[in-house]
């Protein structure tokens, strides 16, 4: 199979990545992420009424109780999700009685309360986890390929994918009130490993073809060959994962919906970033190295 000259279009890849990442970065700087009660502390209360209830009426009633914190969301038929400042079980039961008196019987689907200290603690822990994962994966790639260049470009690609994910969730948070919780962090960590997963497969090919061809024919040729050879596999594999995740996003329960969306975005970005971010970076790095030498 003739190698396709993928590396010729570096600027196109840069443009595509920028197109996704720059709005994300702007959104991150302007609005940041919308942290869930996991991080800020607070209460989350999901209830289902037997009778139809207007969201405005519910909102007013909660405000009268001095409770509402963020806009109430509709999460199903006669089903609402309220985010409140941290309240205790007793306070909640009092409010529940008020609501029952006013709107008829209701069923509590879930009630979660997280104290503020716990939230801060979680933030530190998750950041440690992400950092820890990045360092371990970087060390593994560096050790496996005996070359810093590989490790560094793999990590930049990983960083690229995280930025895509964080940026999109910042936009989602601003426009759709999507929150970032413990599961989101789990998704970020998983995406980190997916990103490296694909990159390693391409790098393996570059190394292998380098050994087979005996002598330096230019990193670019090797890279083109490797990307051409792995493209089908990479696309096919991502498609199967995308099938599963799309099914989860569309059909799965509300609790894991945004978690699945995060994984889906990460998978797409990870598939894209291996041939079009990690490999061009590697080529660029080796060119710079060559120039220095000559």
């Amino acid at each position: 199979m003739a190698a396709i000259n993928f590396m010729k279009y570096k600027l196109v890849y840069l443009a595509i990545s920028s197109f996704v990442i720059i709005p994300g970065i702007i959104s991150l700087l302007l609005w940041g992420l919308r942290p869930s009660i996991d991080f800020t502390g607070g209460s989350l209360w999901e209830i289902k009424f037997n009778e139809p209830v207007k969201i405005e009426d519910l909102s007013t009633t909660l405000q009268e109780q001095n409770l509402e914190y963020l806009p109430i969301q509709v999460s199903g038929e006669n089903q609402f999700l309220a985010r409140l400042k941290p309240i205790t079980e007793k306070e909640k039961n009092k409010t529940e009685q008020v609501l029952i008196d006013k709107f008829g019987n209701l069923e509590e689907l879930r009630f979660e309360t997280v104290g503020p200290t716990l939230g801060k603690e979680l933030l530190v822990k998750t950041l440690t986890g992400v950092l820890f994962a990045a360092i371990v994966i970087l060390s593994y790639v560096g050790w496996r390929f005996k070359d810093k260049m590989y490790g560094v470009s793999a990590v930049i690609a990983m960083f690229h994918d995280s930025l895509v994910l964080l940026g999109i969730f910042s936009l989602l948070g601003h426009f759709l009130n999507v929150e970032v919780d413990t599961l989101f962090v789990t998704a970020v960590l998983t995406v980190l490993s997916f990103s490296v997963h694909d990159t390693i497969v391409v790098y393996d090919r570059i190394r292998e073809s380098g050994a087979q061809n005996k002598g330096w024919r230019g990193m670019e040729d090797l890279a083109n060959k490797a990307v051409t050879e792995t493209m089908t596999r990479s696309l096919n594999n991502s498609l199967t994962i995308i099938f599963m995740l799309t099914a989860l996003v569309v059909l799965g329960g509300t609790t894991v919906r945004w978690f699945s969306v995060a994984l889906l975005i990460g998978t797409i970005s990870g598939t894209y970033s291996s041939p079009f971010v990690a490999v061009p970076l590697l080529v660029q790095a080796s060119k710079l190295k060559n120039r220095k030498r000559s």
Binding site: L109, E112, A133, T186, L189, T190, S193, I241, I242, V256
Partner: protein, 443 residues
């Protein structure tokens, strides 16, 4: 090819065994003339050296699927010496465990955790929906003490001011339990004091013989039995016209008062029963449809090889489910998501191998050689690529409970199912598919 055949038999055996484990328990009762079959398929019980090992093989559902309460309590350790803190939290845990057990929750978990300087108790009560009761039961630091009447008054007329603290508190009470009067068979409340408590109790009973001794829980009088004898061995019985329910209720409250440190709720999650059941249904549907799409895709792209990959994927699902039941894995919603995701990832090694095989064919190698070369050459990539996922699973699962990392149940559920998915898919993607191809794929 003898090795292939035995591996083939091995694969068939594994498939059948896992299928048997995965099937729900189906009782079979046939009686037709002389033939009488009365058995249950699925589930197992094994007798090893008289030790019976039995498991009903249901998938264990986590709190978010089964519904229930998750509570994190923080202990107030202000007045407790550094060296006693670990013991204090452990005994608080025991007290809470006892209260929970008396409450009659099935499969509760009570764990302690130390994060930085804070000591915590994590309580999970599946199937409990009356959360106020549960929180009251585990969270309140009922202060239990024994008080004597100081003014010469009748018990009925006495007010709070007429009682004086005896110095005997809940901390002196080792435990309380329901017992039965040996003569009348009536329920009684038995008390057992610690050594220090027994000494105090001895003096108090001596002082108050034939007088009432009141037991207070947070300034509420619980009961005020009359002292019938001087008791020095630290074992007392409160008898009266109790029903069994009343006696149990006293015991729970007495035990509740023995909590050594005060705790407060810092995190609470109640999950209703319907939300979980709904999520399970939706996830199973999503998984089924996803699996179908992947199968169609694999067969569409790789033809007969794709059929074999689909068979391997089916075996993968069977083995994974069986392992969930055997370990048993407590399945949470993120865990289910991890499982569904892993189905998509499981064909990755197949795809890597099949693409390699195609390549070898293009180079003009004969089919048999291409197949073997494809498997051999793809292995490096498969191993390297999966290691990064395994590293992430390790960090997410945090098996050593490192306090600088997250130890959240849902996150762990996801990490565990993803980890199992990767490991099992390596087995089915490489060994199972390879042998299926050797047996069924002849050009």
């Amino acid at each position: 090819m003898n090795k292939t055949r035995s591996l083939g038999i091995f694969i068939i055996a594994i498939t059948l065994i896992t299928l048997l484990i995965d099937l729900p328990r189906i009782p079979i009762k046939i009686s037709k003339g002389p033939v009488i079959i009365d058995t249950v398929i699925g589930g197992y019980s094994i007798n090893i050296l008289n030790g019976k090992f039995q498991r009903d093989l249901n998938i264990r559902k986590g709190l978010d699927l089964a519904g229930g309460v998750h509570v994190v309590l923080q202990a107030d350790m202000q007045n407790i010496a550094e060296e006693d803190k670990a013991t204090a939290i452990e005994s608080a845990k025991e007290v809470i465990e006892r209260r929970v057990n008396l409450y009659g929750v099935s499969e509760p978990t009570v764990q302690t955790a130390k994060v930085g300087d804070s000591y915590r108790i994590i309580v999970e009560l599946p199937g409990v929906y009356n959360t106020q009761d549960a929180i009251d039961l585990i969270g309140t630091t009922a202060k239990l003490n024994f008080r004597e009447l100081i003014n010469d008054k009748d018990l009925q007329d006495a007010t709070l001011a007429d009682f004086a603290d005896t110095g005997l508190t809940g901390a002196d009470l080792k435990k309380s339990s329901v017992s039965f009067d040996q003569q009348t068979g009536k329920p009684e409340v038995a008390l057992e004091f610690t050594q220090a408590g027994a000494e105090k109790f001895g003096k108090i009973t001596e002082r108050n013989l034939q007088k009432p001794l009141a037991i207070f829980l947070d300034n509420y009088i619980l009961t005020a039995p009359t002292v019938q004898a001087v008791i020095t061995d630290g074992r007392a019985v409160i008898s009266g016209d109790f029903t069994l329910e009343e006696a149990k209720s006293y015991v729970i409250q007495l035990n509740a008062g023995a909590l050594p440190v005060s705790v407060k709720v810092i995190e609470q999650r109640n999950i209703g029963a319907t939300l979980g059941a709904d999520s399970v249904k939706r996830s199973i549907l999503a998984g089924g449809i996803g699996l179908f799409l992947v199968a169609v895709f694999m067969i569409g792209i790789y033809g007969r090889l794709g059929i074999l990959a689909t068979v391997a994927l089916f075996i993968y699902s069977l083995i994974t489910l069986a392992i969930y039941k055997l370990i048993p894995v407590v399945l949470t919603l993120p865990g289910l998501a991890g499982f569904i995701l892993s189905i998509g990832m499981a064909v990755d090694s197949n795809i890597l191998i099949f693409e390699r095989i195609k390549e070898e064919r293009r180079r003009g190698n004969p089919l048999g050689l291409s197949l073997e070369l494809g498997f051999g050459r793809a292995w490096d990539s498969i191993r390297d690529a999966n290691i990064s996922t395994l590293i992430t699973c390790f960090i997410l699962f945090n098996p050593f409970n490192w306090s600088f990392l997250v130890t959240s149940g849902p996150v762990r559920g996801f990490a565990l199912t993803l980890f199992l998915g990767v490991v099992i898919s390596l087995f089915t993607g490489i060994i199972v598919t390879r042998n299926l191809i050797r047996i069924f794929y002849k050009g």
